[in-house]
């Protein structure tokens, strides 16, 4: 559950960098995503068409605070987004480093505390750091979005053991891998690990065929989630024959 909202599809899709508005529209539909992320930027003539795409998608909107480098900027952006989209949901980004786009955990916790107290339902983009995660939960967050790898890098789950530890440590918090996923197999892995959702953008938007890739991600996320629910076998060091040994003929 994401602040009381259940989702059938566990793929959340970004709306940037698509080759055309039509491809964006088709990719959202093919992915099966029920949540799409958007940003706020200075008004211009192209805004109306994008608003129509959002409305036609039927998706729940998760506005972001992308590009904000201080808690103050992010808080102001969150308020503007809440009024514009009529949703308490906010994907909270407070960037600490311009090269890695790594979250600034200090500004992030400050902004999360202020926004949660103000009635926002915060989806914080964070690192896999356990202590930061605890601080975000103390601040009122009920969803955490650790990065898989730097935004747009396509490196996948760069620190899978730490992401697994986060899952084990917070069994009742909705966890979403946000950023860095480049291939459907990486999204499936996050879901197999018990993550509640994945959020990605570039891997779909920059694919040769974004609509086909959106569909592939939707299928991978569904497969990974089903696999986690089915209970994965534990790995073994040695082989174990799957075909019965009993009844084997003596042909030597």
């Amino acid at each position: 559950m994401f602040y009381g909202t259940d989702l059938t599809s566990r793929l959340m899709l970004g709306t940037a960098q698509y080759p055309s508005p039509q491809v964006l529209r088709d990719a959202i539909a093919a992915s099966g995503a029920e949540v799409i992320t958007v940003s706020l930027r200075r008004e211009g003539p192209q805004g109306g068409a994008f608003r129509d795409i959002l409305a036609a998608s039927g998706c729940r909107i998760l506005p972001n605070t992308a590009g904000c480098h201080t808690a103050r900027e992010a808080i102001t952006t969150a308020h503007m987004a809440r009024e514009l989209f009529g949703t308490p949901w906010i994907k909270l980004e407070v960037i600490g480093n311009a090269d890695t786009l790594q979250p600034d955990p200090f500004g992030l916790v400050d902004a999360a505390r202020a926004l949660c107290a103000d009635g926002f339902q915060v989806f914080p983009y964070t690192t896999e750091d356990l202590v930061v995660a605890e601080r975000l939960i103390d601040a009122g967050c009920r969803v955490l979005m650790p990065w898989g790898a730097p935004i747009g890098s396509g490196q996948g789950l760069r620190n899978a053991p730490a992401l697994a530890a986060l899952r084990a440590h917070f069994p009742d918090v909705a966890l979403v891998v946000d950023a860095g996923i480049g291939a459907p197999s990486q999204a499936a892995l996050a879901m197999e690990m018990g993550y509640d959702a994945v959020l990605l953008n570039t891997a779909v938007a920059r694919a040769l065929d974004p609509v086909a890739m959106a569909r592939a991600f939707g299928q991978a996320v569904a497969a990974g989630r089903a696999a986690h629910g089915a209970g994965l076998m534990p790995p073994r060091d040695m082989a174990a024959p799957s075909t019965p040994v009993f009844g084997m003929a003596n042909l030597a």
Partner: protein, 65 residues
């Protein structure tokens, strides 16, 4: 008076934020506003005066990840 609107200098006769949005031909319901870095809710725009050098941001939905 001269203000800064979305990063560009603008001469305006508007004395309130609501009047500025109207003067620019923006649909008041489809933009969110900030004055000098602070959010101004739609309901307070008419009561929010502008002064020379004010920094106004008018934002709308855009593609994002």
């Amino acid at each position: 008076m001269r203000i800064d609107l979305n990063g560009a200098p603008v001469d305006t006769a508007a004395t309130t934020l609501a009047a500025l949005i109207d003067e620019r031909g923006c649909d008041a319901a489809s933009v969110a506003s900030a004055l000098n870095g602070a959010f101004v809710p739609r309901s307070l725009r008419a009561a929010t005066p502008l002064s020379d050098g004010a920094r106004v941001e008018l934002l709308m939905p855009m593609q994002g990840g």
